[in-house]
Amino acid sequence: MVHILENGEHFRADNREPEPEHEGFGSGFSINDHLDLLIEVLKRLDGRSLGAAACVCRQWCAIARNDSLWEHLCFRHVSPPPVGVRPVVSALGGYRRLYMVCVRPVLSRLKRRRLGGESEVVRRVWNQHEVELSLSLFCVEYYERLLVGGGRVAGDSPSSSLKFLCMPVNV
């Protein structure tokens, strides 16, 4: 077996197995050079981890803010996947905002009701009604920001109509 390492330091022409310490697959391979792989990995994370990933470095931050990642996060467990939603959501503030302001609190509230207060992360499939309700709440929230003035995305905190979602559940 021949191993040619990237920086050409070693060249082995014999059949021995490489020693792991110096010649492991990791050294010289940087995920930052393979952004498509990075995106595939990030797509499979949950919201909290995705948020944490955005804090790693500037490049990761820029990638993690890519709205299609958040779209995947919002609707990957929806069966059947909603059609035609993307332009509407983009117009109302984007999937990342949808997740922060609506989807995450709605999911955690619904899940807590189901499990009676335990805070375990459960993969669940949404149904059509839950999707519709979240979108409606998101739209109302966008409208309230319009009423207040500006209409631009103002940070990650929701406007007042969704405050009830942030209130602690009586456990």
């Binding site: 009604h129 009830f164 209130m167």
Partner: protein, 532 residues
Amino acid sequence: MGPTPYNSSNSSSSACSSSTKPPPPQPPDQMDHLLAGAGYKVRSNDLTQVAERLEHLETVMVKSSPVDISDIGNDAVYYNPTDLASWVDSLLTELNPNVSGSGSGSGSGSGSGFVSGSGPAYVSDPVMNDMNNVYGEFGQQVVTPIEEDVSIRLVHVLMTCAEAVQRGDMSLAGLLIDDLQGLLGRVNSGCGIGKVGSFFVDALSRRVVNSPQNGVVQVDLSAYENEILYHHYYEACPYLKFAHFTANQAILEAFDGQDCVHVIDFNLMQGLQWPALIQALALRPGGPPLLRLTGIGPPSLDGRDSLREIGLKLAELARSVNVRFAFRGVAASRLDDVKPWMLQVSPKEAVAVNSIMQLHKLLGPGGPRGPPVDLVLDWIRDLNPRILMVVEQESNHNQPEFLDRFTESLYYYSTMFDSLDACTAQPEKTLAELYIQREICNVVCCEGSARVERHEPLVRWRERLTGAGFAPLHLGSNAFKQARMLLTLFSAEGYSVEENEGCLTLGWHSRPLIAASAWQAIPKPSVVTTGR
């Protein structure tokens, strides 16, 4: 039977002498006003003792043989039931000569045979029986026995005061209101009966002080102030959200397959209902229709055209999501001032009429052509809407007798305040309470055309709408599921959605508070001119 509050000639002075309780802040000979209103003379200081003895009497009577009791009945002439304390003592002595029914210090101190002092005796009297029902709603929070005592007394005195107001006995009502102020000082006014009680006491005192016969006219808030209160009420509790989401779902289903749709909103406010409908129409399979919205609202007096501003914001939202949208505002201070031609309904479009808590305002005294509600329902029917959405408070605050209205509204609003207790966000909660307070004030203080909060329950609305030529539309299971889901998002666990013959009601702990129903117009039969 007139009360004699300061009559101290009382033969029971030997029986109920000095009590071992700390002296309450009243002159020792003062008669209790509440019982005075019912025809009994008991001193306020002696109330607890008399209550205990009544309970004891009940226990003894239950255990006694029928022969003993009928003996007492034959000797009725010896007893003077107005002097309640000595009457009870005499009966006790008669039934059970071994027990001394009187004596100082035998009140709350002694244990055996006496029920503890925290439960007052309920005199059997129809007014008081209603209060038992009302009190049931207040028993949600933990209260100390003393506070429970005061709470119950508060409710009793409220009812007696309302009764006095109905009779026109304003002097007694005034005295009772002073009592009530005192009681409110002793109860926790942050929650429960203390809070809602204070609003009712305030309303009663306004009625008694200002204009007992004709009621007061409530000071109007500006449209802007109204909107602020409404908005906070929208956020603090789910009733308006439930109304909007249910209405939108029904309208969406009614507009299925239509390309030109027209929604008429009887009270636009800030248009909070419509973004969700616009978004749902944008996402419907087959693409969005052309949506026209006509919003009715009060004329703004400060030069701003608030209807137009709301229309512009809604149009901006509709443009973002690619829904063709047109808005029209109709300014009218009362719904019956609106004429159908102002709405400019075109025959090709599908019409939806949306009335969230507006129709009850039309139940007041009508003009020469009949009550306003019938006229309005008539022109709605002429528009031939595919759906008329009616959401109303589920309670009867339009009874002719003041006391009935008062009782019903006390029950209704205490339930609503209970549900509001779960909301902790400020200033939403306070302003929402202010919004509800204005309703309470209107129901209790105002009369005639000033009283607009004339709520009627769903059964009455069904009769009325069926009589006006509308057929019920069933709200489907989608609306029900959506409502249920919406409620699980609210942190308080007491809300319940129920389905009632195709209508949905939202309530708190099985008391429905708001009811949503959908109707469609039966086209009028073509009239053959017979010269009517």
